[in-house]
């Protein structure tokens, strides 16, 4: 089932070279990306050098399972000398002078970078439609949104335009597009992965997460990117990731979060119930619990995220780098206003305004501080629940899909849809989105599992077993032709 392990065996045996593998993906990207718009930047030249380096690692016996594996990065992860736009006009021509910690680690293992993927502007959105560079199409159905904000990474993996990808998850931005595109996406425990080189949206909630076709590949990526990085004060790393995915899960306890089923579409509720039934068949005990503070998740998340964003994004003034308006300015203030007005899209400006408002004198206590108190309560409730059970089960999103173009018409409705995912960001807990079924219309549906802090490996373990029981979208053609036949799901 693991695409990465299968490709690794074939690379090791010499049935396939890293160059051939990269070329295979670049030709697929060339064919399919114009319609999908998943990639904003493709880096064939640097990939060539990386493939050569990978070949050397195979030759001298230092190859890792990730060596030569073609990957994609969300365009808010810095890569030295490569455009890193955050899907914004503001950073259209910005090129970082250093690599993100996650890419340092992957490239040290010999992974090959295919390109940078499209995203909602500064990761603000859940449809990849707020990108300055145009929306991403869902590869399963072009009439639907791929979700967001890591919609480019999700679409690239689902369409077979990369073996795996990294996204970032502040309120669900890895898990929700993974569910909408029918792949696996993990939001690691806050602190498991270094944020160095991840362009911040909301620092206390942001976490880089792996996206792949299955839990095992997700685990392989997580093992390489998790680290205690001295440059990120909030990073702690992980002691264990997922060495023993194949151990049985019999006897584990899972609780369904009641509140998160309320108001969810019937197909979403059905997916959770179906998952519960299948878990029971694996010997997992299922209970239901109610956590009253969950109802405040979405407002608390938006207040905290926007507050931090208003501060994180204040540096984009167009003075040292970034978008600069053509219009003449009479003062520094005016200069900054013009650059920001023209350089940021509507959703980003809306969240900056909301964040500025909730932090301003007179509203600070009413909004920001209250949201912080709710965050503490919510974390306490979730942690207490996880003393009773091993995992929590809930939908990824109350809606099964977003029709293309819909979220921008009703932003508040879209905000409310983050209720299921944002709880994991507010509490710092790890959460995974697992594809479990395909509906009659061909659209995939996923469920979400949350686990204890720094028990990301256990979460992947359960996800692995859940995947073995479900019906899930088939691997894309581009991937299937690479596998030796025995790897069919």
């Amino acid at each position: 089932m693991s695409v990465i392990r299968c490709l690794h065996r074939r690379l090791q045996k010499g049935e396939l070279s890293p160059q051939e593998l990269a070329a295979h993906f670049f030709s697929a990207i060339q064919k399919e990306n114009p319609a999908l718009n998943a990639y904003l930047h493709v880096c064939e030249e640097t990939a060539k050098h990386q493939a050569e380096e990978a070949e050397r690692q195979f030759a001298n016996g230092s190859a890792d399972e990730l060596t030569g594996i073609p990957l994609a990065l969300k365009d808010n992860l810095c890569v030295q000398g490569m455009p890193t736009t955050c899907g914004s006009r503001m950073l259209e021509h910005f090129s970082p002078v250093y690599d993100a910690a996650v890419w340092e680690q992957l490239s040290a293992k010999g992974a090959v970078l295919l390109g940078k993927t499209n995203m909602d502007e500064f990761a603000m959105g859940s449809s990849t439609e707020t990108s300055f560079f145009g929306p991403v199409k869902n590869p399963r159905n072009p009439l639907l949104s791929p979700g967001g904000s890591s919609g480019g990474s999700a679409a690239a993996v689902a369409a077979g335009l990369a073996v795996g990808a990294l996204g970032s998850d502040t309120g669900g931005s890895v898990r929700q597009p993974a569910a909408f595109c029918g792949i696996t996406g993990l939001k690691p425990t806050y602190g498991a992965v270094s944020r160095w080189g991840l362009i911040a949206y909301a620092s206390s909630l942001d976490q880089v997460g792996p996206m792949a076709l299955c839990a095992e590949d997700t685990a392989l990526l997580l093992a390489r990117i998790s680290a205690n990085d001295s440059r990120d004060d909030t990073s702690r790393g992980l002691s264990q990731t997922a060495d023993s995915l194949r151990e049985p899960v019999t006897g584990k306890r899972v609780a369904i979060l009641k509140e998160m089923l309320e108001g969810a579409e019937p197909v979403v509720v059905k997916a959770v119930e179906d998952t519960a039934r299948r878990l029971r068949s694996l010997g997992v005990e299922i209970v239901e619990i109610s956590l009253p503070f969950l109802q405040y998740t979405a407002p608390a998340y938006y207040i905290i995220a926007c507050a931090e964003a208003s501060s994180n994004l204040a540096r984009y003034d167009g003075l040292r780098y970034g978008y600069r308006s053509e219009a003449p300015a009479n003062s520094f203030h005016e200069f900054v206003c013009r650059n920001r007005q023209e350089g940021f899209g509507e959703e980003v400006r809306r969240r900056i305004l909301m964040g500025t408002y909730v932090l301003s004198a007179g509203h600070h206590e009413q909004y920001y501080q209250r949201a912080k108190r709710i965050q503490i309560k919510l974390r306490e409730e979730l942690e207490a629940a996880l003393e009773q059970v091993d995992f929590l089960l809930c939908p990824v999103c109350p809606k099964a899909d977003f029709p293309a173009g819909e979220t921008s018409k009703a932003p508040v409705t879209a905000y409310q849809a983050d209720l299921c995912t944002a709880a994991a960001n507010l509490s710092g807990l790890p959460a995974i989105s697992v594809p479990t079924a395909v509906w009659e219309n061909g659209h995939p549906v996923g469920v979400q599992l949350m686990g204890r802090a720094f028990a990301d490996g256990e979460l992947l373990h359960l996800a692995y077993w859940l995947e073995t029981t479900g019906t899930r979208p088939p691997y894309p053609e581009t991937i299937r032709v690479l596998l030796d036949g025995k790897e069919e799901f």
């Binding site: 911040a200 900054v336 932090l359 004198a361």
Partner: protein
Amino acid sequence: MEFELVCGLETHIELSTKTKVFCGCSTAFGGEPNTRCCPVCLGLPGSLPKLNRQAVEYTVLAGLALGCSISPISHMDRKNYCYPDLPKAYQISQYDVPLCHDGQVVLSNGQVIRIERIHLEEDAGKLVHENGRTLVDYNRCGVPLIEIVTKPDFRSIEEAREYLELIQLTMRYIGISDCKMQEGSLRSDVNVSLRPKGSEELGTRTEIKNMNSFTFMERAIEYEAHRQAAILRAGEKVQQETLRYLPEENRTEPMRSKEDAKDYRFFPEPDLYAVAVPPEEVERLRESLPELPQTKENRYRQELGLSLEEARLLSRYRKIAEYFEGVLPHIQTPKNAANCILGQIFRRLKTEEDKEQAEIPVSPEALGELIQLLEGKKIRVDLLKKTLESMLDTGKGCMEFLTPEDLAGISFQQLREMCCQAVETNPKAVEDYRSGKEKALKALLGAVMRQSKGRADAAQAEKTLRELLTAPAARA
């Protein structure tokens, strides 16, 4: 109506850590513009701050030196404002929980100045205006700063000056800052208000920003006090505002504020965990503090019998004080060491900088050895002075300059003989003295000193001469 002046000070001090507070860049003053920066202090997208632990320790040391309590857990906050010298558009500072709080210093007149808080923050870059353009130099951006905030406890300009000097002295003493006002590593804001004499209520205050000289601060307060007095006497109200002082014109003017409405939207810095300073660390730092200048000054006066002036000068510079204390074990009378240092040695340390550095070619032991000769009555003061000059010139020990003859001293018998000889060979002077001219004794004494090549004990010689002269003439 008579008014009382009320001032409070907010003093910024750049810490002399080797590297900046959130990155590894050098904190050295100057340098080609924008050569001492990196993605972190430039706030480039994706970069993250990492707190320099030494900056925390320095802040705690400052707090302990000023009698503050140390917060076991504090945290950094973001202070949001938009200005070209601030590349992140927020300054990482401390808002509701500073590292140090509730300290005090006592001025020489007994006035207690309460320290409200000391917090750690980062400095901003510098705007350079030239040829009608404004350029930004980010070298200073991210240099650690502490802000020491007092309560409005100053009642005179002199108190404000003494306090600021004491802060400068103390911070240099504990080695956390060079406190050079001309380089901006010590700068102070002053809050000034007036109230009718005898009133307990505080008047409306104005804040004069960024004074980088003692004189300017004094003049600015004086100007501002007069300006406010004129406003109050005219029955008008003082506007609460932020001012800048223009030294050339000796006046203050309102500053264009960094933002029209001053709302910094503080919130805890999410990129950094809380700052913990456990009690054991506080104790370790407390033990590492040197004896502070005020304590030294008192000890020098009370235990060593030095005058106020001597005690103050010797305790003012840490290295001088250490030198002085290095001499003490070798001698009996501390005053002798004080005289040598404050006289001959100070004359050679011309600038404040020289005195801070205190590079003295004569070791404390060598000076002690010389002073011992004086205390053992082997040499006299003038020979000590002469010898010390030679030692300071060459760095050599005293024995290089003293002959066996210099050290031989003069026996009581020898002295008496010399005195007799002086009396015999100067009949005129003897006559004059006996006829009541006290001054004539000086001439006789001079003769004895000449003959002894300055080695004679002048007091002893004088005593002997008097005996000889007052004895019955027959005996002479």
